[in-house]
């Protein structure tokens, strides 16, 4: 009996080791609902959690979730602390010089302004954005004064306390906030920025990129990606 227990536990151990051989670490921010956030149980949750888990299943990879501050999310990928970024990161040329992107898994999402009043001045006033985002570089190149914050939450707080006239962010992020808070509203004007959101991988990691590309394509083909996009209200479907 003892031997049997030993044998099965040895088997279980070797099985779990074999399974663990292909661990891919997914880096995300965990502060950008509905894309990715930390749920009540303290785990990563959201659109990208479900998407990432499904992609890993299709690519037959074992995936683990890691949270990392947005500011240092690219340097930590490049130095190998995790293997892919899945954090609502829009595909831009500047980022593409440093890392590689898989094909996009969302349509280009319009960015909108959230403000306390409908007549907020977004061309000459003060506009908040998260540092290192496409929205921040857009404001910097427009006439408005840019104030940057490290987290999305702080950009909203800046509008609430009057430090900024408006905040520019992905519409899918601002929509639920505007819906739950009567004092905040979305402005009519949208900005079309970026080329959709993709996963970021190291430039030298062509194999992983190909696996995720194939998995994303298969989710696009059978419509399951569209279901996820609709479920989490991310924006336009494919």
């Amino acid at each position: 009996m003892k031997k049997l227990v030993l044998a099965t536990s040895a088997l279980a151990l070797s099985a779990s080791m074999a399974m663990a051989m292909d661990v891919v670490r997914l880096g995300t921010e965990g502060a950008y609902p509905p894309w990715n956030f930390i749920n009540d149980a303290g785990e990563v949750d959201g659109f990208e959690r479900e998407l990432g888990d499904e992609l890993c299943k299709r690519a037959e990879l074992t995936c683990e979730w890691v949270t990392n501050e947005w500011d240092s999310i690219i340097p930590n990928l490049v130095s190998g602390n995790y293997d892919a970024i899945i954090a609502g990161m829009s595909i831009t040329d500047e980022r593409d010089e440093v890392i590689d992107f898989t094909q996009n898994y969302t349509q280009p999402d319009p960015s909108s302004y959230l403000a306390m009043s409908a007549d907020a001045d977004v061309t000459g006033g003060v506009v908040a954005a998260q540092a290192g985002t496409i929205q921040a570089s857009h404001i910097a190149s427009s006439g408005a004064t840019l104030v940057e914050f490290a987290t999305p939450e702080e950009t909203i707080a800046a509008v609430r306390n009057g430090e900024a006239d408006a905040v520019l962010a992905d519409k899918s992020y601002l929509n639920p906030i505007a819906a739950e808070d009567d004092s905040l509203m979305l402005l009519e004007q949208d900005e079309l920025l970026g080329g959709g959101v993709g996963m970021g991988v190291r430039e030298s990691d062509g194999e992983l990129k190909a696996k995720f590309d194939a998995a994303i394509q298969s989710m696009k083909d059978d419509g399951s990606l569209n279901d996820l996009i609709t479920k989490w209200e991310i924006g336009e479907t494919f």
Partner: protein, 294 residues
């Protein structure tokens, strides 16, 4: 946690709060207090060891050792903490992996640096790609401890270097007159007497170290400030069962109480230590103690 927590939207008052404060997310917040305390408990002696080595090196008569000691103190003290943390940890990690790569994969023919990427063979990865999450976390944590120890070690080295010079010259000359070697004088006379001069500076460093722990998140370790910000931020009812407004003020208030309480406790303890170290020393404090006893 509790059975009545199944549907928090029906609860109110204390029962809601009891459910809210026992979510998994809050558990992570409570655990992070332990992380911070553990970091302090390991970093403080490690930094002291670095400081002691640095100060001893800076006093050395052998010039390469002397240069290393003085160079360490000057360079690390001069670089801003945040730059040091962002750059140094990544560099340190890459240095370890590079060394392991050279040993373990001698037949590797691709370059390690490919543009921006740093690519080593799978066997050289630290920690190994297949290791469970906790190994990664423990590794990140020990990198954090090492970095903190190096940074604060440089400041401690400077404090100790000054303290060593503050020991009255007469004490050392007397030791020499008794025929002690340089080594004996250092260990038996200088080191036991220097602590009383070093303690005010070291206690300052300890206070700064306590407050420097939020730098942990730069290294991917989730500390109390990270969780306070995360938990305190507006909780949208679509993404949580416990919606609330911007409660960051309350969470940061808890941190304020924690930090103030901790520094107060430290001050009390350091005061006791100072009294102990002063005992029998050739300082005004020691003299005052002697008179009071007499």
């Amino acid at each position: 946690m509790f059975s009545y927590c199944a549907d928090p939207s029906l609860l109110s008052g204390m029962s809601w709060l009891s459910c809210y404060l026992t979510t998994g997310k809050h558990a992570a917040f409570y655990v992070s207090f332990g992380t911070v305390l553990l970091l302090l408990a390991i970093t403080a002696p490690a930094a002291l060891a670095f400081g002691f080595a640095g100060a001893s090196a800076a006093r050395s008569r052998v010039w390469p050792v002397n240069w290393i000691g003085k160079g360490y103190i000057a360079v690390v003290r001069g670089v801003p903490d945040i730059a040091f943390f962002l750059f140094f940890v990544i560099a340190l990690d890459q240095m370890f992996e590079w060394a392991r790569h050279k040993v373990k994969c001698p037949d590797w023919d691709q370059p390690i640096r490919q543009g921006n990427d740093f690519v080593v063979c799978q066997a050289a990865k630290l920690p190994l790609g297949e290791s469970p999450q906790w190994v990664h976390e423990a590794y990140g944590f020990s990198l954090a401890v090492l970095t903190f120890a190096i940074v604060f070690g440089a400041f401690a080295a400077n404090v100790l270097f000054g303290a060593m010079r503050a020991v009255p010259r007469a004490q050392l000359e007397t030791a020499e007159a008794y025929g002690m070697s340089r080594r004996q004088t250092f260990w038996r006379i200088l080191v036991p007497q220097m602590w009383v001069f070093a303690l005010p500076g070291l206690s300052n460093l300890w206070m700064v170290l306590i407050k420097a722990t939020p730098l942990l998140f730069l290294l991917g370790v989730e500390d109390i400030v990270y969780w306070a910000r995360e938990l305190g931020g507006t909780a949208n009812p679509r993404f949580t069962e416990y919606p609330h407004g911007d409660w960051r003020m309350w969470y940061f208030f808890v941190l304020l109480v924690f930090y103030l309480g901790f520094t107060k406790f430290s001050e009390f303890f350091l005061e006791r230590l100072m009294q102990k170290l002063t005992h029998g020393q050739a300082t005004t404090g020691g003299e005052a103690q002697r008179k009071a006893d007499a």
